[in-house]
């Protein structure tokens, strides 16, 4: 029971991280039809921005304070990067979805290589507030405190994005613009800025995910974003390509399945559990994956 509780809570924590990583990817794909391969690089940018902020702030400040500032900085950096990428790289290739994917592939290669050139390939340690590194004992299980933070942040991001999409005019314009940008303009609405906002949002979400993941991992490294990106992809596919609710459900499912399989199943099954889950979903419900929007 104790073990089960621990596995469930850490599984949820993992799911929360996956959701955070996938959410930016999911909204950008769901709303704009752009598969943002540079999402991993966005996450990396967030984690490095956080790390640089924390190590450059006066060490007199408490770690928690510095972390909070770092979160703000990372989100801002992510948003700005997202904005620039959309304006400079994505916008001129509107309608050319494959080309957009290609540009982001190039961007992700180049930026990871650049980070490697500047900060080196080795992981750098990041500071973690005392409390987040500790545990809370519940029913004998030592639950790591940081997982609660991840879960809460993920929940907040989820609800925030959901509200934005379904209850705001911005969401409506975005959904219309995805289908037929020209016609939205022909109705007198400026879609450019709307799309830029989406990318900035995606970038901010990615950066937040990157920063939290570096808190989880205890280090930052250029390859980190990429390794998380694979899970983000799988989560987005299982969740039904761009559905935010689907993404959330899939993230939790993947996190739990992975932890449970790693604990209870033979070694080897745990390893491939996620891909098996994907294949299963694919065989059983291929239609749910055909690419519904928002």
């Amino acid at each position: 029971m104790t073990d089960f509780l621990l596995i469930m809570v850490t599984g949820l924590g993992l799911g929360a991280l996956y959701f955070l990583a996938a959410s930016g990817l999911s909204i950008i794909y769901g709303l704009m039809g752009v598969l943002n391969f540079a999402h991993g690089a966005f996450m990396m940018a967030g984690s490095y921005a956080g790390w640089l902020t924390m190590s450059n702030l006066p060490s007199g400040l408490s770690v928690a304070t510095r972390l909070l500032v770092a979160v703000v900085v990372a989100i801002a950096v992510g948003a700005v990067i997202g904005l620039l990428v959309e304006v400079v790289l994505i916008r001129p290739l509107y309608r050319h979805h494959i080309q957009q994917v290609l540009v982001t592939v190039g961007l992700s290669l180049a930026s990871v290589a650049a980070a490697q050139g500047i900060w080196g390939a080795d992981p750098r340690t990041v500071e973690k507030p005392e409390w987040m590194g500790g545990t809370t004992v519940v029913l004998g299980a030592r639950l790591p405190n940081d997982r609660f933070v991840f879960i809460l942040v993920a929940l907040a991001v989820f609800l925030g994005l959901l509200a934005l999409l379904h209850y705001t005019r911005l969401g409506l314009i975005i959904r219309a613009g995805v289908e037929n940008r020209t016609m939205v303009e022909a109705l007198g609405i400026n879609v450019h800025s709307t799309f830029t906002i989406v990318f900035a949002l995606g970038g901010a979400a990615a950066a937040l995910a990157g920063l939290l993941y570096s808190q989880y991992a205890g280090t930052v490294s250029p390859a980190q974003g990429g390794s998380l990106l694979i899970y983000a992809f799988i989560v987005v596919v299982i969740g039904g390509m761009g559905s935010l609710v689907g993404t959330a459900v899939a993230a939790v499912a993947v996190g739990l399945v992975q932890q449970l399989a790693n604990f209870y199943a033979a070694s080897g099954v745990g390893d491939l559990s996620v891909v098996l889950l994907l294949a299963l979903v694919l065989l059983l419900r291929p239609t749910s994956l055909k690419g519904a929007h928002a």
């Binding site: 340690t125 991992a217 992975q258």
Partner: protein, 385 residues
């Protein structure tokens, strides 16, 4: 004409003719990671090599009257690039190749040495299979077996003790598990393994399993980027409270990733700042200082490689078989102490160390524990195939 040949005789003819009076230079190729994920290891290797060459040639850069010409090539950690680079160097008449930061590179370049009858001195690559790979392949660093044997020594008498290996489910991890089982199992310990899939993001399930089994010794073989998270989880789940934990000490920049756990871990080490003290060590330290560097894990491997190369050239400037005979069984003093190249499989018998980390201001620094005799950690002989 013959493909690949036509221009060759003329080419080499001029080069050969030029070296009529003074002794011709000997060309040595270094194929190692200047870029890529193991660039830091590669850099240390190269720094050590420079210092070692200086030391072994007494500052002349020549051995037995032959100038030693070094050509460096980057393999970026990619065996394909390494094979291309080695082929290129061999084609240009390099009879000695050294380097191989990663095990993958070492294993792919070793057969080339055999195919083409050139001397290959593998670098930081730890994979056991380099020893005994073939007649032309040597190594200048330690191998996994020696790491594990060192870990085993920390438990004293292991007979009847329970030993668990926490390793990634990869070739590196499997090699460690196999080594622990072979060495400590033979001494009467019951060994089991917790293998962590490469795809696992979170190690809590594995930490829980270990906690539940509470072994006497936990040997951690971990080479991934999420090492910090792994240590934090072991610490959070209280593994250190019941179990003695041993792992290898990596390069300096990683000493901080053990976090809170750092002072509770017992480290085995191949080499670190302050592990030994002798003439070679001082030469290494001085040589590194000149380059603005400090002693670290793989500077030893570069230094020793240079020593071996100079020794080989002193035996012959072109007859590779003579070089091989000169190196086989050679015993000499390297920065970490007395080393011997075992003739049967070219394993490098060497002392090993244990260490702990202690806080030093905001930093942690290693403190020497025991120095193990080369014989105590010598791997079994794997004769050439």
């Amino acid at each position: 004409g013959t493909p690949g040949e036509p221009g060759a005789p003329a080419d080499q003819g001029t080069a050969g003719a030029g070296g009529g009076t003074s002794a011709a230079p000997v060309k040595v190729g270094l194929v190692y990671s200047k870029s890529g994920p193991l660039a830091t290891y590669g850099e240390q290797y190269r720094q050590g090599f420079t210092a070692g060459l200086d030391y072994a040639t007494k500052g002349t850069g020549a051995a037995a009257g032959h100038q030693i010409e070094i050509t460096e090539q980057d393999d970026a950690g990619d065996p394909a690039k390494a094979v291309a680079a080695a082929t290129d160097l061999i084609g240009q008449g390099h009879s000695i190749i050294a380097g191989s930061t990663s095990s993958g590179v070492a294993l792919q370049v070793a057969p080339l040495a055999n195919d083409n009858k050139v001397l290959f001195i593998s670098g930081p690559a730890a994979v056991d299979a380099v020893s005994g790979a073939n007649k032309y392949t040597f190594r200048s660093g330690r191998q996994t077996y020696q790491d594990v044997a060192t870990a085993g020594s920390m438990l004293g008498d292991v007979s009847g003790k329970k030993v668990t290996v926490l390793a990634q489910d990869s070739a590196f991890g499997k090699a460690n598990i196999a080594a622990v089982t072979a060495i400590l199992g033979a001494k009467g310990a019951t060994v089991d393994a917790v293998e962590v899939p490469a795809a696992a993001t979170d190690v809590t399930p594995f930490a829980t399993k270990i906690k539940g089994a509470s072994p006497d010794l936990l040997f951690v073989a971990w080479a991934g980027t999420n090492a910090a998270a792994m240590w934090t989880t072991l610490e959070q789940q209280g593994v250190f409270e019941t179990t003695k934990v041993v792992t290898g000490l990596d390069i300096k920049p990683t000493h901080a990733i053990f976090g809170k756990a750092s002072t509770q871990i017992n480290f085995l080490s191949h080499f670190f700042d302050g592990a030994a003290d002798n003439a070679a060590y001082q030469a290494l330290q001085a040589g590194l200082e000149k380059q603005g560097a400090t002693v670290d894990l793989f500077t030893n491997d570069g230094f020793v490689a240079a020593q071996m190369i100079v020794h080989a050239i002193e035996a012959s400037d072109s007859d590779v078989d003579a070089m091989v005979s000169a190196l086989e069984g050679w015993s000499f003093e390297g920065p970490k102490g007395q080393l011997q190249i075992r003739a049967e499989d070219h394993a490098l018998l060497q002392p090993m160390f244990t260490a702990t980390l202690k806080g030093d201001g905001g930093n942690v620094v290693p403190v020497l524990g025991d120095t193990l005799d080369p014989a105590a950690v010598a791997p079994p002989v794997t004769p050439f195939k």
